[in-house]
Symmetry: C2
Subunit: 341 residues, 2 copies
Amino acid sequence: MVTIKDIAKKLNLSYSTVSRALNSSTLVNEKTMKLIQEEAKKMGYTPNALARGLVLKKSGIIGMIIPDITNPFFPALARGAEDAAVKRGYNLLICNTDWNIKLETRHLKLIEERKVDGFVLSSINVENRYLEKLVERDYPLVFVSRIYPGILANFVGTDTEHGGYLAGKHLAELGHREMAFVGGKFKVGSVQGRYLGFLEALKEKGIEVRGDRVIEGEFTVESGYKMALQLLKRDRRVTGIFAANDLLAVGVMKAARELGYRIPTDISIVGYDDIFISSLPGIELTTVFQEKRKLGELAVNMLLDDIQGKENGKKSTKKIVLSPKLIVRKTTAPVRVTGNS
Amino acid sequence: MVTIKDIAKKLNLSYSTVSRALNSSTLVNEKTMKLIQEEAKKMGYTPNALARGLVLKKSGIIGMIIPDITNPFFPALARGAEDAAVKRGYNLLICNTDWNIKLETRHLKLIEERKVDGFVLSSINVENRYLEKLVERDYPLVFVSRIYPGILANFVGTDTEHGGYLAGKHLAELGHREMAFVGGKFKVGSVQGRYLGFLEALKEKGIEVRGDRVIEGEFTVESGYKMALQLLKRDRRVTGIFAANDLLAVGVMKAARELGYRIPTDISIVGYDDIFISSLPGIELTTVFQEKRKLGELAVNMLLDDIQGKENGKKSTKKIVLSPKLIVRKTTAPVRVTGNS
DNA sequence: TTGTACGCGTTATCAT
DNA sequence: ATGATAACGCGTACAA
């Protein structure tokens, strides 16, 4: 491996000059600079980010903690984050936690050792003492999409309550009155928001949701399927279902079809997130859209601003909340005028 | 930041002893070791991977280059890779290239500076001089899923030719004789394999594919849609279509439906990859399955074996080729006995 | 078993 | 404009 020293020797110069030249410092003769840069290229010099990081106390890497890149919500998020990071000269280290706090903590510790310059996390659903310490220690960090309950930290996300509201309003305006909510774990803050917003919209129309029509499960197709199967079997009057995310909604669709429902003629279904699959032919789910990619971008930009601002002594807690948008596709329609048994 | 020195001072010991204790070296008194480890924890010591990497000439990070994590094929691959990496104490740095060689090269250079201990790449479609240099320099590296043409390097992938064969055989056995191939860029080696295998299977049944029924486009739903639309409009006799991947297949499905085809009654469609969406209710695509997650795992394990083996002076070029599997779902059926106009 | 001293590759602070 | 030298935090050969 060719180092700064090697090219210094070769050119009978000192390390310092070479280092400066390579960093295009102004305080070095133009000619020697060119000389050095050419020689560097010729010798195949590659800077060593480890060494640089050691002295600069920066790694140039930021860590991204997510539950599972395999879940269709996260690739777009990660992609946005990576793009923004690269654009500013950083790289992204991705860790999957499987919604497991132990794993999350382990990853946090491990990549803190790597001296990542900051974290972007979207993994939070439950208390994590180590994470709390991290923010107490003022480690640069921003929460995306899901915020840690009761903590003051940077956040980038979508107005979930408003999103839920849009879904509820849409169904209500279509004339639905018998509605259900199929949710993931309510501990995840964003689900609560969606639910609350949903209720809010219905209330405005004088509609209430019966307690037995609010179900909780996992964030998966399978779970949505099971929940809807159980719900619709015992309760044929429901005509509108709001699912906490698109995966769930797809499961609900499957269950409804199996039970002989036509979508959207007999039943309307609204999802949340507008993940990739939702617009696919054969699915075409009405859903609440949030800008996942942009969320990722905004998050790392906020993080990087923070990191670079901190050097100038600035500190702040920022928050960006994007507005969701309703996307009407083919799983919602006006309620039928004739009731069914 | 608390360092080894700090805890050495506090305990009136030398750096070395502390360093050894923290690495659980055998050549240190058990008592002092415990003492040191406890003190380290108490003081909140965190090892600095940068410094360690500098002396050990290892970063503990491996780089993964893929075209686009947003493409449903890659999350599973990345996840498998990350799991395997973490299991062996490494982390994964992910870079998206958007199938752009310039970007790929830039990423390669950049993360080489980060001293990643090796690369896993799945980005290759076209000549990249810098990449060639990398393998010439013997940089630890393994290709996943797509191999670089005409280069001797580690590889983990699926037997694409056999995969294509399975698809062709399936359609042929269902009685289809008028078939088409809807492909992505043929430059991507894996597509050629799929195509060749497909042809091979048909040939065994005495079936040929007309040249105007082989179309090339992008690897997207949209592209599949357009190609199929164009094909099926001018050629109503086709009853079986093999798409080079599932995204394309979904697009084909959409086009067929729009033109009034019932699937699979009027036309059979086979995809490739079995990505997440393909099993979804409303899609249920017959496709050729490959173990994406396992591919990722195998790749980083091979890489890590290589890295750790190299220290012992071993060198080798390994190859692992998994077998694909046909998954029959609801987009294929026996050809109708009555021909249509 | 423990301590001393050097080097990893780079940047930064002094001088010159 | 350039050079010498000290860090950065850690591992390790060598000495004790």
